[in-house]
Structure formats: structure tokens, C-alpha cells
Symmetry: C2
Amino acid sequence: MRPNNRLSIIFFVVLTLALTATIAGAQDPLPSWNDTSSKKAITAFVNKVTKEGSPDFVPIAERIATFDNDGTLWAEQPMYFQLIFALDRVKALASNHPEWKEIEPFASLLKGDIKGVLAGGEKSIAEIMMVTHAGMTSEEFEQIVTDWVGTARHPKTKKLYTEMVYQPMLELLAYLRAKGFKTFIVSGGGVEFMRPWAEKVYGIPPEQVIGSSIKTKFDLRDGKPVLVRLPEINFVDDGPGKPVGIQMQIGRRPIASFGNSDGDLQMLQWTNTGSGPRFGLLVHHTDAEREWVYDRKSPIGKLDKALDQAQAKGWTVVDMKRDWKLIYPFKKR
Amino acid sequence: MRPNNRLSIIFFVVLTLALTATIAGAQDPLPSWNDTSSKKAITAFVNKVTKEGSPDFVPIAERIATFDNDGTLWAEQPMYFQLIFALDRVKALASNHPEWKEIEPFASLLKGDIKGVLAGGEKSIAEIMMVTHAGMTSEEFEQIVTDWVGTARHPKTKKLYTEMVYQPMLELLAYLRAKGFKTFIVSGGGVEFMRPWAEKVYGIPPEQVIGSSIKTKFDLRDGKPVLVRLPEINFVDDGPGKPVGIQMQIGRRPIASFGNSDGDLQMLQWTNTGSGPRFGLLVHHTDAEREWVYDRKSPIGKLDKALDQAQAKGWTVVDMKRDWKLIYPFKKR
């Protein structure tokens, strides 16, 4: 064979492989999902509601899908990332608050004694949340979150927190949007903590993020309008709060909901008892090697009642170890 | 001329006229606006922010426009339509509440003495709102509103309330959306009162309606999830509440806001003090013949401080009589 011919053949083979890969990619919108029952349940539901003329067809305006965030779209161990943010902020602010060395939970925190902090229970957590999340304007807080998210690293993976999102769920979000769904986050986390990066990371704009919030107040500072964040709870978007948050902000019942813990139970119940085709999915954390294993007894992301309900109601339960080829995008080759 | 030729010429003329009308229509997205300064200000702003490469270009994701409802998108005289709805509901419910004949403000209302009702001030209005807006599920309330809106008639025009929307504002909404804007309602009115018809009437989906709300509670009735409306104020989306509502639900500052009263002042301030190009507009009710005339002294839709601010800040003030060719769609020929 003449060298030119050989080159041609190599070129042809490479081109064919590239094209095949492209076509395979186009055919499979969920390449990081193994071909197990979870993936099949997702695509069967989407095909059914998007097929014109089908009895299960759902008009585009009603294709509302809601996603929990912590443990569903990104990781949540060893503790909620927003709590790590709050602890980091206390350390950053400590030099302005010499009194914190003497009072709990700040004294323990500044000594690095997280167990001592958690010993104070919800009251301690609430105090830490308020001093770190209130007192500034909404725009100042946005900048603080943006700076932290751009630099802080996870203690185990040493990755940025926004890198610890689940690749299969990113694909699922994109797939649903390509099929005419409007994707929303409905999280117990703070709405203003998620909005600064949710659009870039998940493709979800601020107006489609629902979360817990503190009260804010319109004020004029030197004649310039500002929104000041007050140290007072406005809304807790967790458990029975999730359907309430959905109604307040969307005003329409979702046809598909995605969660991972008992905090998502009522959202899945609300979604799955509407008329017409409905879809519920829980991410079950079963992969000790690539992520974490936890469910019924975990203090973070406890999945107990919702797991029983899923089995009783036929909701899809993702077995992370079995169903996901890849967990994090940074593990991609 | 042979008859056939004459026919051809007539046909040609008709076709030309039809085409010209179509082209003119395509060229003017705001046909119910006279060619006065208000219309010019609107189109100049839209052209500026949508022209790629222009220093004032705004990406589509940031093209957020917020609209007040009462007095801005639909009429609000002789009183807010939602208040008329509440009064109608009291009458409809009276047979289940014989005690109302003895207690104010219900006794006055049932006698048709609206002045007597209003004499009780905000407390009376709040009582009427609570008995008519709370105690049912969100889905039951949606049905009640839908039924009322489909049948109740305005005392003066005898039209359905949803027919008393402003044709020039419908055109403005459609024009902005065609230019990549996302249009939101931000109203002091009840969010669940507007959502059942806003999509059909304004093309604004429920998730883009922001308004005042009462608290709701997730509950299970015979194992079926419901959201129950409680007789307790959750949020008042008026005056300084409007920027707060915008931040809570949109999480992004609008680049254009449209209102008609002092209740819209802070929304216009918030919109117009962001960086980059901004647009503020107030509808001034100046047409006694085709609509109503009111501003600084009106108990409904009072426009006083905001009018002064508009003049000081260069916001556009629509003179309804001068600027609008047509008020209501039903007056169209």
C-alpha cells in the first residue's frame, strides 16, 4: 500500500469513528447513565408526555420539573455546603468580632471544634446562619457568595464545590429542557446562596430558583435604593414547605420532581397526585467509593420515609452505584 | 376595458392594499399608540438594548420587564376589581352565614351600602378579604376565580373584567417578548387572583406573576395532598414590597418597569438605579371620556409622589388621552 493510501484509510477510519461517536451522542442524551431501569423510566416518561397525539401528551407550558439541590444536583457531605460557607464566613469575620472568642457557638467554631458547634443544636446553627447571611445588602451578599464559590475547596476532594455536581443530573436537566420542560430548583438551601451560580452551573436562571429565605427590606442609602437582608426567617423551603414554595413561586403543579431525602417527600407527593402522567425520582446515595453511602440514619440528607413511599408508589429510585457511569464531571476523561 | 381586465385590476388593487396593510402592521408593533413622545421613548429604548454590538446591548437573560396590573394593564375604577370580586363573594356566601346580617362590615355590604363598608377602613376590607380568600384549597380558589372572571360584569361598561385590559399595553407586552424580554406582573393584587387568567389574557404564565399572598399550608385530606389557604397575610407586594417581591421571585433587577401609581414608585426606583440602560413608565389616567381621570387625590391608584419623581428622573409618563388611539380591545372595529 502506498503511504498516501494508508493515510487516506487512517483518515477515513478516524472520521468514521468520530461520526459514529457523534451520532451515538446525539442518540443518547443521557450518556452518563447506565442502561438500567432508572434511565429507562426517565426516557419512557419523557417520550410519553412529549409525543403529540398521545393520550399522555402534556403541553409545553405545563412541563414543569422541580429539582432539589443538596444531594440531588450536587453533593452534601460531610455537611451541607452552605453550612461550610457559613463556618468559613465566621472565620473571615472573626477579626471584626473579638467578642466571639468568648461566646458559643463562635468560640468552638474558631477553635476548629465543629462537634462543639453542633452540640448547640439548631439554635447554634441559626445564630451562625444569621450573622453570616444577614446585615448586608442583597448585592453585597451575592458578591460574597460568588467569591466563596470561586475559591473555597471541598475538604475531601479539594475541588470547588460547584465542581461537585452530578454529571448524570446535568445531562438530565439538559435533556428535559431540550424536550420543552422548564426546570426549577426547589431547595431547603438559601435562595440567594444558590442564585449567583445556578445559571452558570445548571443552566437554571435566578427566577427558576426557589429556596429558603430571610426577610429583606427596601431602603434608601444616600438616596440609592438597596435591599437589606434582615436576621429573620422569611420562609423555610423544606418538607411540607416545598409544595408551598412551588405554589407561591410557580403557581402550577410540577409533572416531575427529583429529590434525595425526606425533605423532598411532600414535593414528590404533591407532584405525583396531580392528574395525568407524573414522575417522581429519588437519588439513593449507594456509592462509598465514588461518593458517599447514606440513607435512613444520616443526619444530613436522611432518606427513610420517602424511600418507603417511593417503593409503595412506584417512584424511580436511582441506585447511584449501579445507575451512574460517572458521578462528577471532573472525573471525565 | 374588458370586464376581465377590470376584474384583474380590482384584484390587483385589493391585493396591493392588503399587502401594504400587512407590511405596515409588521413595521409597527404598537399600532394602538399614537406617534407621540411616549411611543418614541419605548421603541428607542428597545432598539438600543437589543442592538448587538451597541454599548447599551443587554443579553436576553437580563431583559426583565415588570408590570403593575391594576391601572397599568387593566382598569381599576370605580374600585379594584379584586375588591368587587370579594364583595360578590360575600353575597354568594351569605346564605351560609346568617350571622353576617348582624355584624359589620357584612351587614352594610349585604344591604348594598358600600360607603358603610368602606367606613370601617382597612380593617373592614381585610375582614372581607379573609372570609372570601381563605379557608379553601388553592385549587378550589382557582376555580372560584375562574368562574367569577368568566361571568361577572363591570358596573359601568357591562363588559367582563378581563375585557377591560388596555390594548396598547397588550401590544407593548407582545412587542417586548418578541424582542427577547421576559415579562412579569408585579402587583399589589393577590397572586392567586391573577394567575388563573393572566396567561390567557396577557400571555404571562403563572410563574411570572408576583403579587400579594396569604399563607398556605400543606395538608393531607384523606391521604390526598392539598394546599390550604389560611386567613393570615404572607406578603404585601405593594410600594416598598415590590422590589422585595421582585428580588424574592426573580432574583434579578428589571431593566424596565411599568406602573401607574405611588404603589409602583419603589419598583421604578429600584429598576432605574441599576447600572446600564433602564426604562421607567407611568400610565397617567387622563381620559374622562374613554376611561377615567384621576391622579394626586384618588383613593384608588393615587399618583402623586411617583408623578413628581417621573418628572425629576425623566421616566416616561403616558398621557392616556393623547398617547393611546384605543383603550380597550372591545372598541376595536
